[in-house]
Every structure is written in structure tokens, then in C-alpha cells.
């Protein structure tokens, strides 16, 4: 009983009106009529009551026959064939005058004559139409068709309820234009549960329950003595979305924090760089394929920038003959012009080079990172972007070695959700040893390549820093892991700026 009381206290005004009507009524139209509510309101109330275990809604489909446009008209004016017959009782009519004299539509002429001929109700003598004896009887008698129309005008009839002669009339009329139609209707009925039967007979008091607590109730104290309607706390409420940082920004922020926690300083620098900083200072040979137009975006105007003096001379020497690094260099001639070319930075390793060049021996050991944009001359597709985010890091430390490199990478990726990291031999012109960085995909259980790493070559470090010190370095892609996290398959969706997608995207929770 306590349950029932609770339920009744929690009833919504619509439910309050509907519930008493349920004793004795079981179909939607009946309930609607009794409550004087709108059908949608009753439907809502029924659904809520069903959730409360008061009733069960039974849904079915029925095929009903109803009058169509012409059917309604014929009900008033009579069927066109009857009207023709009626006109004929006043005398024979020329074929051409039938429409006018019988007051039917030109479109109804053929059907009418067809029906009448079939019943032998008329006789066509040359161009004249005459009524026959059977015709006169036919006129007086109410046809099956007329009976059906009349019945349908009183109520909708289920197709399967039709008697044989009604079925016959139905078939005839359905062949004709817009007289009757059948349509599928949803059938809603209810059945009260045991609890429902009790509830329907409960007295539902109006005065003591309140729906909302209002400011005026508080002011006047009117809330005292009222019972507040119990809510269904499980109810679905309309969706809202909030403003937020783009999900990429959330990921960038997290990644920055990882490096900051490990004692790294943030690097920054321009997106437009000379080839000198982006490539030459990193000992990328001038005929390296990565410098070609199809890999790197160059600027039309200003097409070239300035070289930093006196650094460029050291870099030139290192390329041509190794300079004072103990290396043989790449050989050949190093071109200043090629180094001056302006480009969109292809990696944030350019920031590492610039950072090292600004360091002094007394600053060591030092660690730097950046999470920033780089550019590749790629056409956009589901796997490729021309703007990407690179996670860059360097450790400038006389004691640095390959084990530390592996240590930093492992620490980072563990925080990114990839506890298994491996490095394997790779090749980059600016690192030696070089290592590809793979992580084990925790669900797919396969290795995925996420970046490059290594120790900067002496040919890179010595011209920039003045001394040879091992510099651990890595450049890792970010978009792949971010896509994985947000379950995005097409990489373009990261920067699609579909507001619905951004509004509904889950928060970065690593």
C-alpha cells in the first residue's frame, strides 16, 4: 500500500486526469474522450503510468476502411450511376447530354455507364440512353455499395470485419476513384495490472499536492502542508551541451603537462622558417629527397630569407667536409641559395636546433619540449593532413644515452595510455643512433609506429652548441593517438569543425 501511495503522490497532472478514466475504458479513443485531454497527452500519461507498473500498453495494427473524398460527396449527392438513372426517369437522354443532365463530372461518365450496362439498367439506342425496367428497380433499391458507404460514414470499419456482400461492395468501390480507402492504423489499448486496478479506484485528491516549488510559495509560506509531486528520477530530460576547449586543445594541454612534470622547458618559434634552420642545421643533405617540392611547402614571396652569421659558415663546412666534427661530411658543394629558401616548417626539430644554438655549456643539462604545428605537402585524405601536431623533445646532457632515450619515451607513452613501447633501428639524417618509436596497441595487440627519435649527430650539435654533447631527440606524431582516443577513423574529422561533433565530444580524461 505504501507503494501505491508513493505512486499516487508522484503522479503528473496528466496522469491524475487519466488514471480515474481507466476504470472501464481500455482503448485510446475511449480514454481520450473520457478525460477530454488531447490524444498525445493521454499517450504521454499512459507511457508514464506504464513505467510505474500501473498498466501495460498493447500496441497493434489494424487495417480500417474509411470514406475517401468522393465517397463523402456521393453520400450526400448519391452515386453518379444512381444520379444518371434518376435523370433518365424524366425521359431519354442523348449520350452527349448525360453529364449535364445528370449533374455528374465528365470523369464519372464512363464508370457510371459501365455499371449501369452491367446491371442491364439502361439501354443504349444509337445515341440515346433509355432506362430499363430492371433499371427502375435498381434505382429504388439501396445497393450494397450505398449500404457500405452509409456504414462507413457512421464509423470506421475494420477490413476483416466486412461481411461477404460488404466485401463485394468494397472490392467494387476500391476500383473506383477516391471513394473509399483502407489504411493501417496503430491500435493502442491498455490493460491494467493488479496494482493499476487498485490505483484506478483510489481517490485522487487535488488540493494538497504541488507541482513546482515557486518563489511566491516561499514568500507566502504556501508550501507548508503541501505534498510535492514525486518525480520519476529516471526520466529522460532534454539534452544540453556546453562551451569547451576543442578536444585537440585538451589533448595538447595534457601532453604539455606530461613534459612539464618531467622538468622540460617549452620551446617556441616561427612556422615559416628558412631551409637552413629546418634542414641544413640538422645536417639534412641538400639533395635529400625530403627537400623536394612534393614533400615541403615553399613560399612564393618572400621566397628566401637571411642566413644567421657566422653559424651558416660552420654548417656549410660540416656539410662539405665535416668541419671540426671528425666527420667526412656529405661531400659536394653546399649552396647558400638552397639554404635561404623559405618554407613552412616540416618538423618542430627546427625549434630544437634553434634552442640548442642559444644554449651555453653552463646551461647543461637542459631539457626542452614543444607540442606544435608542422606542415607536409600532402593532399588531404582520411589518413593525411597537411597540418599536423608534433610532440618534440630534446635532452641536452653530457651523460645522455640510448637507455635514457628509451626511458623518457616509455614514461611519456605510458601516460598516453600505451604502457608498452619499443624502439627499433631507423634512419634520420640528423640522428645517430636513430630509432623508430612503436607502441603496442592495447586492444589490437599490434605495434604502431608513432614517431622518430635518436641522438643528434655530432655534425648537428657541434656547429650549434660549439661542443659535442649527446642530445636525445624525438619527434612524435600526435594526431594518431588523439584519433584513437576519440574513436575517429578519418583523420580529417579532427579539424572538421563540425559544431555538433565538438559539442558532443567526450572530454579528454587521461
Amino acid at each position: 500500500m505504501a507503494d501505491l501511495k508513493k505512486i499516487i503522490e508522484g503522479l503528473h497532472p496528466l496522469e491524475r486526469k487519466t488514471l480515474p478514466a481507466l476504470a472501464g475504458c481500455s482503448s485510446l479513443p475511449d480514454i481520450t474522450a473520457k478525460t477530454k485531454l488531447k490524444e498525445v497527452e493521454v499517450m504521454r500519461a499512459l507511457q508514464w503510468l506504464e513505467n510505474k507498473g500501473i498498466l501495460k500498453i498493447k500496441k497493434g495494427l489494424k487495417e480500417v476502411v474509411v470514406l475517401d473524398k468522393n465517397g463523402k460527396e456521393y453520400l450526400e449527392k448519391g452515386l453518379p450511376e444512381k444520379r444518371v438513372l434518376k435523370a433518365l426517369t424524366k425521359g431519354d437522354i442523348l449520350l452527349g447530354d448525360v453529364v449535364k443532365k445528370a449533374g455528374i463530372e465528365p470523369g464519372e461518365f464512363n464508370v457510371s455507364l459501365g455499371v449501369l450496362k452491367k446491371k442491364a439498367a439502361i439501354l443504349i439506342d444509337g445515341k440515346t440512353v433509355k432506362i430499363t425496367e430492371p433499371g427502375k428497380k435498381f434505382l429504388e433499391k439501396e445497393s450494397f455499395e450505398e449500404k457500405l458507404l452509409k456504414k462507413l460514414s457512421e464509423r470506421e470499419v475494420e477490413l476483416k470485419e466486412l461481411k461477404d456482400e460488404e466485401k463485394f461492395a468494397f472490392d467494387n468501390l476500391s476500383k473506383r476513384k477516391q471513394i473509399i480507402k483502407s489504411s493501417l492504423l496503430k491500435l493502442v489499448g491498455i490493460e491494467l495490472t493488479e496494482l493499476g486496478k487498485k490505483a484506478a479506484n483510489e481517490k485522487i485528491s487535488e488540493g494538497k499536492t504541488a507541482d513546482r516549488l515557486t518563489a511566491s510559495m516561499l514568500k507566502t509560506g504556501a508550501w507548508k502542508g503541501k505534498t510535492f509531486r514525486r518525480y520519476d528520477v529516471k526520466i529522460n530530460v532534454p539534452e544540453i551541451t556546453g562551451a569547451k576547449r576543442h578536444f585537440i586543445s585538451q589533448a595538447v594541454e595534457y601532453i604539455r603537462k606530461i613534459w612539464i612534470e618531467m622538468g622540460f622547458k617549452e620551446m617556441k618559434g616561427s612556422l615559416v622558417q628558412t631551409a637552413f634552420w629546418d634542414l641544413d642545421a640538422l645536417f639534412v643533405p641538400q639533395d635529400h629527397p625530403a627537400r623536394q617540392m612534393q614533400d615541403t611547402y615553399y613560399l612564393k614571396d618572400p621566397a628566401a630569407g637571411k642566413l644567421p652569421s657566422p653559424l651558416w659558415k660552420k654548417v656549410k663546412e660540416v656539410h662539405e667536409n665535416g668541419g671540426d666534427t671528425g666527420s667526412k661530411g656529405w661531400g659536394g658543394k653546399w649552396s647558400e641559395e638552397a639554404a635561404k629558401q623559405n618554407l613552412l616548417r616540416t618538423h618542430t626539430t627546427v625549434l630544437s636546433a634553434q634552442t640548442i644554438s642559444a644554449l651555453k655549456e653552463s646551461d647543461l643539462p637542459a631539457k626542452f619540449f614543444s607540442v606544435a604545428k608542422v606542415f607536409r605537402n600532402e593532399a588531404l585524405d582520411w589518413k593525411h593532413l597537411f597540418e599536423l601536431t608534433q610532440v618534440e623533445g630534446i635532452v641536452v646532457d653530457p651523460k645522455a644515452n640510448m637507455k635514457y632515450l628509451k626511458g623518457y619515451l616509455k614514461e611519456f607513452f605510458a601516460k598516453m595510455g600505451y604502457p608498452d613501447v619499443r624502439i627499433r633501428p631507423g634512419h634520420f639524417p640528423y640522428t645517430e643512433p636513430s630509432a623508430e618509436v612503436d607502441v603496442l596497441h592495447p586492444e589490437k595487440n599490434e605495434w604502431i609506429e608513432l614517431g622518430g627519435s635518436g641522438i643528434f649527430r655530432p655534425e648537428v650539435v657541434k656547429p650549434l652548441l660549439g661542443i659535442e654533447v649527446p642530445v636525445l631527440a624525438w619527434g612524435l606524431g600526435m594526431e594518431r593517438t588523439v584519433s584513437e582516443y576519440f574513436k575517429i577513423n578519418d583523420i580529417r574529422e579532427l579539424y572538421k569543425n563540425d559544431l555538433r561533433q565538438i559539442r558532443n565530444m567526450k572530454t579528454w580524461m587521461r
Binding site: R245, I260, S270, Q273, P302, G305, K373, R422, R424, P433
Partner: protein, 549 residues
Amino acid sequence: MPSIKINKEVVEKLVGKKVPIDQLKDRISMLGTDLEGIEGNEISVEIFPNRPDLLSEQGLARALSSFIGAKTGLRKYRVGKSGEKVIIDKSVKDVRPFTACAIVKGLKFDDEKIKEIIQIQEKLHVTYGRNRKKCAIGVYPYEKIKPPIKFIAKKPGEIKFQPLEAFKEMTGLQILSQHPTGREYGYLLEGKDKFPIFVDSTNQVLSMPPIINSEQTGKITEKTTDVFVECSGFDFDVLHKCLNIIAAALADMGGKIYSMELSYPDRKVTTPNLEPVPMKFDTKYISRIIGVDFKESEIKKYLEMMGYGYEKGKALVPAYRADVMHPIDLAEDICIAYGYENLKEEIPKVATNAEEDKFYVFKDRIANIFVGLGILEVKTYHLTSKENQTKKMKSDISVIELANPNSKEYHVLRAWIIPSLMEVLAGNKHNEYPQHIFDIGTIFKKGKTDTGVEEADRLGVVLCNEKADFTEIKQVLDYLMKMLDVKYEIEETDNSSFIPGRAGRISVKGKNVAYVGEINPEVLTSWEMQMPVAALEINLTDLFEAIKK
């Protein structure tokens, strides 16, 4: 990166023993090559550009057999003296000044081996040879050639021979304009008065490098047993290295290498020279870089696993290795032999001070202020189209263009950020309003920097809803300035992107830092927008500087 196809059986024969497929897969990855796939007996392996010597079945098998311990240490390649000469005429000096040549005898060619030798040439051309520019390779049936051979440059009209895959004799010029290979590589000889050719003592043309060989004297068949090999280009050391790579591969196929005397106008050189090159190294240096305390004997073992020889304190670098230019390169190979997988990760306990970039922090705080106002962050590209930046905005702002864009949508660097946001709005007409969005990103204009391009980070905000107006956007501006505790001045300004009389220019401490206003309906129409927009663009770089002072 280039990849080569190798046959498992051939590799096993060269290695000298059967290798289980899983071991092969793992070893290929850990050797410093990348396994791409296996289909039946055919294995695709990606070769990094620093190891041209691995671009053949023979080269890769050689490296693998040392790496898995089947045949370690330096391979000795004997070079006999052929006594034959190649005379380099001074006329080639301005076209293609150098060549390195060898003869390899006693080869048994079959269909597979002919394909293999073509693969080696092609892969070396594309990679180490930089598409034949740096180095072009020719391999010829020696029995058809009468030495001495001459490397000489002649006027293209005077050069006449039947090139491979042609049915008639052609002149140098005809080859460049009509022959498919000539058309592909013709640019390498463009503008030259004379083209280089190899001819034999009977004046038969062997080839016209770097384009094509002769049909008569430049085609290997199943009857060929001895070959003449030449590499031509601009850097003798590069050519010699390339020749050594090919000679070693041919020797691994069962051939015997013979040297030739190259007679340059000013000197005589003998090639190939397959003697290893000694390189001094310091065990401590190697140990320090890798982080493992190696004994001398361990270093020796690891060097030998990587195909080097060892002599007290020195590595004997095989003559086919093109990438060893500093002891650091030995360190990498020793590290590979030791196994990257065996390195135990460590994080050193060194204290360093972390530091966020102050400007980044500033931008981050501003972004959070906007989020607090219910404005959503979007992320737009730096590259866009000139039309979006100018015509669609009724603006004549100048933008920096890319020299080599690959699409019309993304061919300039943006000069302001509101157009990027307009593009977002235009693409979201089907989504729920109001649409209040912001983005912080870089803009580009010409300036006095080392590159001639000045970059600034700007914040753009657009408010788009039925009632978006000046008041609404100015409230946003006022709130931001209040939160930053900054006083600003505002003046009416003419800006054709905005409704006249509804645009303001904002300055802080006398410096223009922002503009604000209602977007001109003509602009909205050009974006096919049917909702009013009020916009704000702030130069955060300048605002940051102004506040700091």
C-alpha cells in the same frame, strides 16, 4: 623510401642456412630495415636511404647472415687486375666529369639474375643516385666490347646509336625528344652543348649516360658471363662507393671482380677498390652514447655481427658502406648488434627546471575566459584560399602565397582569422544556433624578420544568432578586458568587411590590437549565410607585449 623484393630461398642460400619465418621477420626489423610484407616466398623489405648496400638480395642477405651470426666479420672481396683502361676525355668535364668502372667475370645469368641486376640498378638510381642525377649506372655484356673504353662528350647531333627498346639508330637529340627514357631523364642534359657517351676502341657507342644504353652493346642476356660496369656522375667518391656496392653484389652472385685503370686527363686511378677503410674509435665514447659498458671484445663481436672487421681500436669499414662518416655511425651499428630491444630504459635523476612558455599560458587563460562565456573553441588551418581571405570578406588584405600548393582551397597563409571562422559558420548551417565560436591561431604578413615573414597569434571570435549585434560582441570584449584588467580605447573605423558605422578599432597603450563589429551583409551573403554575425579579432602577440610593459 625504397623497398626491395627478395626471395626467401635465395636469401637462405646466401645466408647458408634455413631461417624460420618468425626469426626472419624479427631480425629484418631489428637490423635497421623495415619488413613490409611476406607473400609466399617473396619478402618485401623497406630499406632506409642510408644503406644503399642493402638494396639487393645479395646485400641484404650479406647483412642478415652476419647479423644472425651465420657468417660474421668482414667479407673479403678479391679484385684481380684486368689490365684494361677507361680513358676519360677532358670534354666530359662540364657535362658529367667522373666515372668509376669495373669488370666482373664468370657470372651465370638466368632470367631471375637478369631481373635482379636490373632491380639493383633501378633502386640505386632512385635512391643513392638521386634519380640518376648524382650517379647513373651502366652494366654491359663485356664480350661485345673492345677495350680500351673512352668516356667522351660529343655534340648531340653527332652521337648516333640504337638505344635499348628502339628499332633504329637515333641521334642524341632524337633520343631526348623521342625515346621514352630520353624524355623522362632528358632534363639532366638540358642546356648542355655536348652529351657524354661511352665508346669502345671500335667506336661503338655503349651508352649515353645518364639516359640509356645501346641495344647492341648494352643489354645483358642469358649468354652473358662477363660484364663491364660503370658509374658516372659528379662526385668521384660517390661513384666509387656505388661501383663497390654493385661489384660486391655481383661477386656474391658468383662473379670475379677485375679492376680497370681510369685515365683522367690529370691523374690515373684504379677502381674498384674493395679494401676496407679503417676507422678509429673510442670504446668509452661508444659505451657512453649507448649507455652500456662495453668491453673491447664485445665491441669486436658486435662490429663483426654488422659485417665490419676489427683491428685493435679500429673498425674496418667495408668498402660498400656509404653511410659511415663518423665514429657515431659505428656506435649505431654496435647498438643495433647489441639489440635496441636489450637496452634497459632508465630515467636519470637529474633535476632540471620545468618552464611553460609564458605566452602560451596567456593564450590558454584567454581561451578559458571565452569558454566561460559559453563560446566554443574550434581549430582551423593556417592554410586557406585567397578568395576566403579577400573576395568573400570584401577585403583587399595581402596574403602570402605558397610556391607549390597542391590544392586551390589551401594555397595561401592566412593574414587574418575571422575568415577562417566564417568558413566554420558557413559549414555549420545545419547545426543548432546560436553558434558562438572562437579560435586562436597564427596569422602571417610580410615583415622585417629573417624570413621576411612576420607571424602573430590572433584570437578570433564570432557570435552568430538571430540577434547577434555590436552590443553583444562588445560585451564580450569588455568582459575580456575587465578580466585582464586592461583599459582600452575604441574608435570608429572603416573596414569593408563590417557594416559601416558598426566597426571599432581597439587600442591598448596606443597600440592597435583589435577590431570589433557587425559583419557586412554582403560578406554574409558571399558565404551564403542567413544569420547575422558579430565578430572580434585581437592580436594576442601585441596585447601580451602591451600588458607586459
